[in-house]
Symmetry: C2
Subunit: 704 residues, 2 copies
Amino acid sequence: MSNSNTLMTSLFNPKSVCVIGASTKPGKLGYNILENIVKYGYPGRVYPVNPHYQNILGLKVYSSVSEIDDEIDLAVIVIPAEAVVKVAEECGVKQVKNIVVISAGFKETGKEGAEREKALKDICEKYKMKLLGPNCLGVIDTFTPLNASFAAQMPLKGNIAFISQSGALGTAILDWSFKNRIGFSKVISLGNKADLSESDFIAALAEDVNTKVILLYIEDVKDGDKFIENLRKTVRIKPVLVLKSGSSAAGQRAAASHTGSLAGSKIAYETMFKQFGALQVETISDLFNYAKVFSTQPLPKDNAVCILTNAGGPGIIATDACERYGLKLASLNSETLNNLRKQLPSNASIYNPVDILGDAQPERYYTALEALKNDDNISSIIIILTPQATTKPTETVLKLIKLVDKLDKPVTFSIMGGEQVTEAKKILSENNIPVFSFPEDAVESIAALTRYTFIREKKLSHRKFRISANKEAVREIIKKVLNEGRRTLLSSEACKILGFYGVKTPKVYLASNSDEACSAATEIGYPVTLKIASPDIIHKSDVGGVALNVKNEEDVRKIFIGMVANAHKFFPNARIYGVEVYEYVEKSREVIIGVNKDLQFGHLLMFGLGGVYVNFLRDVAFRIVPVNTQDIDEMIKETRVYTLLKGVRGEKPADIDSVIKTIIAASQLVQDFPVISELDVNPLFVYNKGEGCMAVDVKMSLYI
Amino acid sequence: MSNSNTLMTSLFNPKSVCVIGASTKPGKLGYNILENIVKYGYPGRVYPVNPHYQNILGLKVYSSVSEIDDEIDLAVIVIPAEAVVKVAEECGVKQVKNIVVISAGFKETGKEGAEREKALKDICEKYKMKLLGPNCLGVIDTFTPLNASFAAQMPLKGNIAFISQSGALGTAILDWSFKNRIGFSKVISLGNKADLSESDFIAALAEDVNTKVILLYIEDVKDGDKFIENLRKTVRIKPVLVLKSGSSAAGQRAAASHTGSLAGSKIAYETMFKQFGALQVETISDLFNYAKVFSTQPLPKDNAVCILTNAGGPGIIATDACERYGLKLASLNSETLNNLRKQLPSNASIYNPVDILGDAQPERYYTALEALKNDDNISSIIIILTPQATTKPTETVLKLIKLVDKLDKPVTFSIMGGEQVTEAKKILSENNIPVFSFPEDAVESIAALTRYTFIREKKLSHRKFRISANKEAVREIIKKVLNEGRRTLLSSEACKILGFYGVKTPKVYLASNSDEACSAATEIGYPVTLKIASPDIIHKSDVGGVALNVKNEEDVRKIFIGMVANAHKFFPNARIYGVEVYEYVEKSREVIIGVNKDLQFGHLLMFGLGGVYVNFLRDVAFRIVPVNTQDIDEMIKETRVYTLLKGVRGEKPADIDSVIKTIIAASQLVQDFPVISELDVNPLFVYNKGEGCMAVDVKMSLYI
């Protein structure tokens, strides 16, 4: 990650900055940016560049970057799009390390803009300059401090880094953050991501001592592999919260027309975030609610929550929310219960939720929290305060903040109300204790923090697998298919390929005439199944292209002739290779194993309930390839069909190990042969434990 | 609803109020309540009652209620719990119409309190007094105006009625409402609901001209039937939004310890709310976010939304949210598109989301909204404004409010940001235009409003059904079972009962010895299925109590003897009636029809995917009995198995009509015989269209 280190210093903490397109006119971006740099105390050397002016804000103005007699770490370019490429070249010649292109008028505007962006990118590559943008808001580092953006203000200093693909969202959030006392370490506006992207920044921020939590708003990911690689490393060190928009079908269209980005498959994104440890959030408010907690609180040990409240109703609401978000109520240990019993009024509820009653004064809150503080059964604490007749909100939080500070458990407050509690809420915020208006938000944030505990604890041990496979034979089949100009394999070919990876499939022969079909059937043994062999007929059973349980030679012959004639008649343009003769296979539990190639993240593996109902029951789980055995294990357990495989209602358990082996085979196959864009094993019959499984129907397609 | 009318006048707008337990000491509830009544301008006659004082707040104090020489519409009682019953009796003698018991110390405190509450309730019944509470905050009507509560302030006047089972939640929400400019028509604190409950108030509020939307926070429903009856009438007139807490397992325990209420089955509650038109919300913040929109906006015609934005990112976020909450993006009509094309800059996006770009000034917002206003394809509009370099938030909303006011479509704003947009948000709120910080909330609220449009439009036509059934014969079977001291019916009995309601079941005979079993098998015809006949052995197939496909007399005899011996051995205490001999039935698609009695809402009907996988696939839908054919139709369509019944992958469609008839039969059976607490038809084999269905396995239990 030496690149990250370079980024951290020369972009966020440059020794010198020039603003190309600096202006004397307040209100113009070229003025605002320069003013922000100067006004917010950037300690390095600043060089405005503009051929039309001599002096701006007391600084000497240069007519071009080449005239500056200094090394330039960062050039901010804010001139009309048409002129950007030429100026970038000047920067390159000058050996500028980073350029931030604020100017719009690139890919987002259409073909001409896209060409301009390509030229800009080429220049940066040629001179090894890093490029942020174009079409962005700029970059802010509150610690340097450097505000190389046209944001209206300098954000508060804090430990949250915010990376946003939407400039407008960035400005709105900054404005909003003052009111909500949220502080940032860095704010990065990605713009069109011609060069630097989210992947570069999460890697850089992983090493940033001033950043405790990384927030990401993106509409797409630029480079799937790089993102995955950097994400998995970063989440071992600090949490990455992601709001990914453009996931709905309509949202994808909107995103495409907005930045020309390809939003990619929703399932692939969700799978990727989950598998590699990003915390995906659903709404902007969740993003910042969580950030409040992540940036200030220690990680919980487990998912056991204690609720401390002065009102029953909100306590119940919080309890419901715990269940909804996957938390459980802690069982308080006996010492805690004794302490609570001794010190609370007799009609208080000492069991979780701990209800210290509507007349609770600051002392009672304190006593209760003291009692809870060292209980190892409690992973995190949610304190609810509602203003009742004799409640003293301000005094209560003043009494509690010192104690909360010393806790090794995360704490969030829920304080409902308006004027009566404004001061109390302000005090908590100022003391870095998260406070929410409603208990559900307090619970949801703790749930997110707890998810991160589990992400951090997840073993990284890749129990790597490597199964022996006859790759040469597979290569031959694929070559043959491609040579014939096909993309879809025949079932017999697909079965053979899986066979080379150790997966059991029915015996199958391709017969191009009825004699061949009969001898194949004799070879296999009756009864047999016949299927029309054509790469162009997909849903064979829907068009009379499948005959099950064919019992003798006479029937094989009759069916062969009828099936081929029928296929020619209804699909005059289809390539008909004859009929495939299959071994009869005993029916069993049906699961599906599928692989589909996603444009962004490569092969997406699917496992779930199989059979004809797969589409309407949708009991499936996904992972990005490559997977390790732990991934496979978790994937299987995510589905409901897992219960079935374990054996329900007195059934014997199924051979889950053989399912795992089949998934391993599928995963390795598509890694070895990335040309395989689609693999569909449905059904895979899974027999009782020890008896293996059988890939009964296999479809495979190639993508060149 | 004459009772409701009485409530509306004598409780909310009484001619005279006495406060029993009035106090001279500020800070005491008896003082606060009296002060609230006087201070907030109650126009009727006020009588403080307390034997220890002469004068409070300039009012003459009476030593007891009987001394007051006036008719009393409302008595507010705020004295120690021990004295309440006696005072209530005095009120009864005095013919007081309503009492509100503020005092705590009743059911919520345990056995003694529960007895006290019972006595209080009896007194009220005896004297036909209405009772609110005990253990409540009181009641507020902002129009009367009357503040007979110890809330710290008088809420703002508005058209939202808020009914809360939690007093603390009530006070917190009131305090919060000022800051958020939310106004109320009435605030009702239910307390322990010894007499008046949510059901009474939703009926009363249905007729209240000052109330446009009813908000309900409850932990349980007191009387299921009454609630359903009043709810279904009320939602035809105005929306009822419900936050029901205590739904999680832990939440139920917390609720029980809090108010001693039985929270009831989560599924039954959810089903009931949905079926009878309440809008159930998940969080407190949703409750009030929705209320903002419901109280100010017209209903949308349909679910087509138009998004108007000055920023791409938030537009995409809103688009995603539309899909998430069941809304669609409107396709703008050609006239609208032409207008937008003509009047917006060329790089604006005129398709929905309409993106009028970051430099949009008030004029451009106005022009765009003008163009959208009359487009019939648009049901509702979401306007997004993010503060960018040249945005004028205040001027923009000032320009828009008049136009928004004239629209016949609902509008919500999403304005992100802090100081820069504070004024704009305030102006919108003051003009009764809902504004949210984040686009997702704006979308979610419109989605809730749209759901209410569909609730209102839902036909009330109860296509009643009445099938002929041999009820006498059913009664005989049930009598016999009860006489034998059983609660579980034998399969043969259950099948017979369904048969009397026109449901096809396999032929089945109970055989008490092997000879009887053989003649039954001959009568039915081979092959047959044998099942152990015992009311005490439930999962027969798990314990060797089922033999399928028995082909001849010899096997019947052998199996009979083995099965009975086996049952005696493993279940020495079970009643063994012999073996049931079943007709062999051809397998087909499997669905389940179930009925379970819920303590609160009566029989809960279930339909879904059947077979042994029902528990792990959980593809089921629920309705409260009685159902009409429309309910049944909707219930079936909610499940995924519906797709299967329609015919997937070339299969023939199933006989859905016969499924509907079976559900009707089940529904009518449990109405005719409410003693049936459980009915489980699993599987019901459903054959191809026109070929009917067959209840293959039937379980039935009674509850006395």
